[in-house]
């Protein structure tokens, strides 16, 4: 196989990381919403934690992006 073709396929495979990040971010916001509807008065205090969880989860997806970039241009 051509090395260039293999690189393109590899970069495409690295995008699978998005699936995991999507599930994770959905879980975080879904559970926040579920908790916030049960106890709306406590929701505002947990907003910072929500965004930290979101940022950490999103980072795992972005690592996939970085891997794709390294494969393509590294």
């Amino acid at each position: 196989m051509e090395i260039e073709a293999a690189k393109q396929i590899g970069a495409g495979i690295a995008a699978i990381a998005l699936g995991g990040a999507g599930v994770g971010i959905g879980t975080i916001f879904g559970h926040y919403l579920a908790g916030a509807l049960r106890n709306p008065s406590a929701a505002a205090g947990q907003f910072t934690n929500l965004l930290i969880g979101f940022a950490l989860t999103e980072f795992t997806g972005l690592l996939g992006f970085v891997v794709a970039m390294i494969i393509l241009f590294g």
Partner: protein, 253 residues
């Protein structure tokens, strides 16, 4: 050369805007990235000076915008670091407004998004990381190393926990930098990609122009999303800096 006009990565190319001579081995040429970094600094500084104006006791409409921004960051610093964090407020406020304004300026068509450059975000992250190290060692001395060894574990667990904590601590600047850079870069690539779809579809005739409405609608929706992400990423960067500084102030978990 149709490719160049719609190439989504072309917007990130650093080009010289104003050629200047090399002085003492430092190339003084102003690139588009440097130009927009200067613009960001000027907009932030003079924008806040113009907004606060005379500093009236009863805020005018423009002054209350600046006070809203100030209060937002001050609440964030106080809720995470407590009263002790007051001395870090100027740094966190500068960081937040710089990233926010840089992201928002990047949303204007034809501008350059400086936060989409890894070197810019990594420099910002390293400033935060260095500040955490200096604060931690200045305040706690070698007690700062307790951050890597949480109390109350069985002794055998420390063999496992300490390397994990060290690695997670050292990866902080990378995660801060890559998060901001990748978010801005991916978002702007997406915008340009859908813009390119509109262009190439509408160039094939009447059917294409009718079909181009769809990518145009998506591009509009993505623009709204990008405006939210511009704010969210500035907020996340500032919040994480606050949390890391709080670790430096109180290293025992």
């Amino acid at each position: 050369m149709m490719m160049l006009a719609t190439d989504p990565m072309h917007q990130f190319v650093v080009q010289p805007v104003l050629e200047l001579p090399t002085l003492f081995g430092i190339d003084l040429t102003i690139t588009n990235a440097a130009l927009f970094m200067i613009v960001t600094t000027l907009v932030t500084s003079f924008g806040l000076i113009a907004l606060t104006g005379r500093g009236a006791m009863v805020p005018t409409r423009s002054q209350s915008i600046a006070e809203l921004l100030y209060g937002f960051v001050a609440d964030m610093v106080r809720s995470i670091m407590g009263e002790e964090g007051r001395k870090f407020f100027p740094y966190v406020f500068t960081l937040f407004t710089f990233i926010l304004v840089a992201n928002l300026i990047g949303m204007f068509p034809g501008t350059y998004t400086i936060t989409s450059q890894l070197v810019v975000t990594f420099a910002l992250a390293m400033i935060s990381f260095t500040l955490v190290l200096i604060t931690g060692f200045a305040k706690n001395g070698f007690g700062f190393l307790k951050l890597f060894a949480p109390a109350g574990l069985p002794p055998l667990m420390y063999i496992l926990i300490i390397p994990i904590e060290v690695i997670s601590f050292l990866s902080r600047p990378f995660s801060l930098a890559i998060r901001l850079f990748a978010n801005m870069m991916a978002g702007h690539t997406l915008l340009k990609l859908f813009g390119g779809f509109v262009l190439s579809l509408s160039s094939i005739g009447a059917v294409g122009i009718a079909a181009a409405v769809m990518p145009l609608a998506v591009a509009t929706a993505v623009t709204a999303l990008e405006l939210m992400i511009a704010f969210l990423q500035a907020y996340v960067f500032a919040v994480l800096t606050c949390i890391y500084l709080n670790d430096a102030l109180h290293p025992t978990h």
